[in-house]
């Protein structure tokens, strides 16, 4: 690292510029990742928080079998016959209905003086005890924290859903579904609500627990005319989740490619520019290994410096964003993209190493530079 450090110091302007570019790319990648994670959480956190080995969806009985397109929670409808078929299948310990619908909720003024407050919510109904947030008794709801905030509602107050009144039993969890805060009800209450708002009252999905492999799931699917996935796989059945995460992921991927190319191009030009120096060092007796370590160390120093600055920026943005913007600031979302930028940058540096390995010490002899 003897020459590498001195190069860094002598050409600090150029290296600072590269580090700044790396820092900006890290900042962009990191904040997009935080934002994507935040948006995704607002889309799927309630479903992701469910405890099931498989999620079963089905096309409503009336619709033609040839309807194309992926099933979504919104247009899936599982009949009780399908439910019993799943519940009684070998390897299945239980199959419970899950109701999912979106509606408006209104908090009733308790004293008559306070004004009412309403908000769009997602209503998720399951059997009591199936999730920690399902209310134990009928005519009560559990509000997720964001739902409670949107409705300005507290435990014990009354909330109206689809013309029916419910008592808030508890405020708990961070449930979101399709960018709307979640209100949890019992499945029976959800059925009534569904029928009151023009629905069939049939479950949107089944939550299945048991020991099933992919083949068994597929066999049951064919027998019962359903589509079963893992919990993670079922996220694709939520509204725009796939396209949202997909397009943001594509941008993140492109940024990572750009950073690898920029770093690679910089170090390639930099190394080519000092090929003559490298040839001299080799002619003086430098081992190729020491030259490679030197160059790798130099690249790592610049990358780590830039990425550290960028990551600090991401943390600052995350802290500033607070709850105003859906932004997830976690070790994973802050450090994983940074690490990826370092790794991809090093790939770029590796490309430049070829010029060092292949530099011919003979060119140092009798040459005028």
């Amino acid at each position: 690292m003897f020459v590498a450090w001195r190069d860094l110091r002598a050409a600090r302007g150029r290296f600072a510029l590269l580090a700044a570019v790396v820092a900006l790319v890290t900042l962009l990648v990191g904040s997009l990742t935080g934002l994507t994670a935040g948006l995704a959480a607002q889309n799927v956190s309630a479903v992701l928080g469910l405890d099931a080995d498989a999620v079963v969806l089905a096309r409503p009985a009336g619709s033609s079998g040839s309807t194309s397109g992926a099933l979504t929670f919104a247009d899936s409808s599982v009949s009780s016959a399908q439910q019993s078929a799943w519940a009684s299948a070998a390897g299945v310990t239980g199959a419970w209905p899950l109701g999912v619908s979106q509606t408006r909720a209104t908090r009733q003024s308790s004293s008559g003086t306070a004004s009412t407050q309403s908000a769009a919510v997602a209503v998720l109904g399951t059997d009591p005890g199936l999730t920690a947030t399902t209310p134990a008794s009928p005519a009560t709801v559990v509000l997720s924290t964001p739902a409670a905030e949107a409705l300005k509602a507290r435990t014990g107050e009354t909330v109206e859903l689809g013309g029916q009144r419910f008592t808030v039993a508890q405020v708990s969890g961070d449930g979101w579904y399709s960018h709307t805060p979640v209100v949890w009800t019992t499945f029976l209450d959800w059925q009534q609500l569904s029928r009151a708002t023009g629905g069939s009252g049939e479950a949107s999905a089944l939550l299945v627990r048991g020991d099933l492999d992919g083949d068994q799931r597929a066999a049951l699917d064919t027998r019962t005319g359903t589509t079963a996935t893992t919990l993670l796989g079922s996220l694709g059945a939520i509204g725009a989740f796939r396209s949202e995460v997909g397009s943001l992921g594509l941008i993140i991927g492109l940024l990572l490619v750009v950073s690898a190319l920029v770093v690679g191009a910089f170090f390639t030009v930099w190394t080519l520019q000092r090929t003559a120096d490298v040839a001299v060092l080799k002619a003086l007796g430098a081992s190729t290994r020491s030259l490679v370590v030197d160059a790798l160390g130099q690249g790592t120093a610049v990358l780590v410096g830039g990425v550290a600055a960028g990551t600090a920026g991401v943390v600052a943005i995350g802290l500033a964003a607070g709850t105003a913007v859906p932004f997830v600031l976690s070790p994973l979302t802050a450090l994983a993209p940074s690490l990826l930028v370092v790794v991809l940058g090093l790939v770029g540096v590796l490309v430049a190493l070829r010029a060092i390995v292949s530099a011919n010490p003979l060119t140092a002899l009798g040459s005028i530079r």
């Binding site: 001195r6 003086l284 003979l362």
Partner: protein
């Protein structure tokens, strides 16, 4: 001492091969400067490159003391250079980002992956400063190459070539970028250091005339078309 024993070197040249060294026999003794001169393209740099282990000859032996450089793999030849061979180039070929003193210290780092430390580092620095004083660059250790004259740069290059106390010094056209006076000074310095340190010095130059005034250049070998004109110099 360097001994070239029946050394032949050819380079690929289109379909055929061009002979750069043609059965060369030569002994470069310790403590004296052996001057190798001859027209352009006669094979002077080729002989130097072979001695430095930068190219392997087609045949023959090249002995640095007792080791046959001609048989060494590139990495082993590099190790030999950083331990026992000093090289001075046509241009000083200094590294632009290093100070004058660092140009010397870098020789201690060529094989090293991690830097030296503490006591050793201080000793090396004192040694480098002493050597810089010896070549007439006292107090210039903190300058960078672009802050030096051509003659000063070549002195730094000579100090760099000697910092690891090599037994062999290979010098290729050290004066071609200098005026006659500066050229004579640099070669005088080489002659003096060669005597003081007892190195076997091979000095390649194409214009011997400019160096007429320099004492101690008695051993002169002429080369043309890859052959030594005085094969008797053994």
């Amino acid at each position: 001492m360097i001994t070239f024993d029946d050394v032949t070197l050819t380079h690929p040249d289109g379909a055929g091969r061009v002979t750069a060294l043609d059965h060369v026999h030569l002994v470069v003794p310790d403590g004296a400067v052996t001057v190798l001169t001859g027209p352009s393209g006669s094979g002077k740099s080729s002989l130097l490159a072979v001695a430095a282990g930068l190219v392997r000859p087609d045949s023959g032996r090249v002995l640095l003391d007792d080791d046959d450089v001609a048989r060494l793999a590139p990495s082993a030849a590099a190790a030999l250079r950083r331990e026992r061979v000093g090289v001075v180039f046509q241009q000083a070929n200094l590294l632009p980002s290093l100070t004058v003193r660092d140009q010397l210290l870098v020789m201690g780092e060529l094989g090293a992956v991690a830097g030296g430390r503490g006591q050793r580092r201080r000793e090396l620095r004192e040694h480098a400063d002493a050597l810089l004083a010896e070549v007439g660059l006292d107090g210039l250790g903190r300058r960078r190459p672009h802050q030096l004259s051509g003659g000063q740069r070549q002195r730094v290059a000579i100090a760099r070539a000697l910092v690891h106390a090599p037994s062999v010094l290979l010098v290729d056209e050290p004066t071609s970028a200098l005026d006659s006076e500066r050229a004579a000074e640099v070669v005088e310095l080489l002659v003096r250091l060669t005597r003081e340190r007892g190195t076997a010095t091979l000095l390649v130059t194409h214009d011997l005339d400019r160096l007429n005034s320099v004492p101690g250049l008695e051993r002169v070998v002429r080369m043309s078309d890859g052959r030594l004109d005085v094969p008797a110099l053994r």
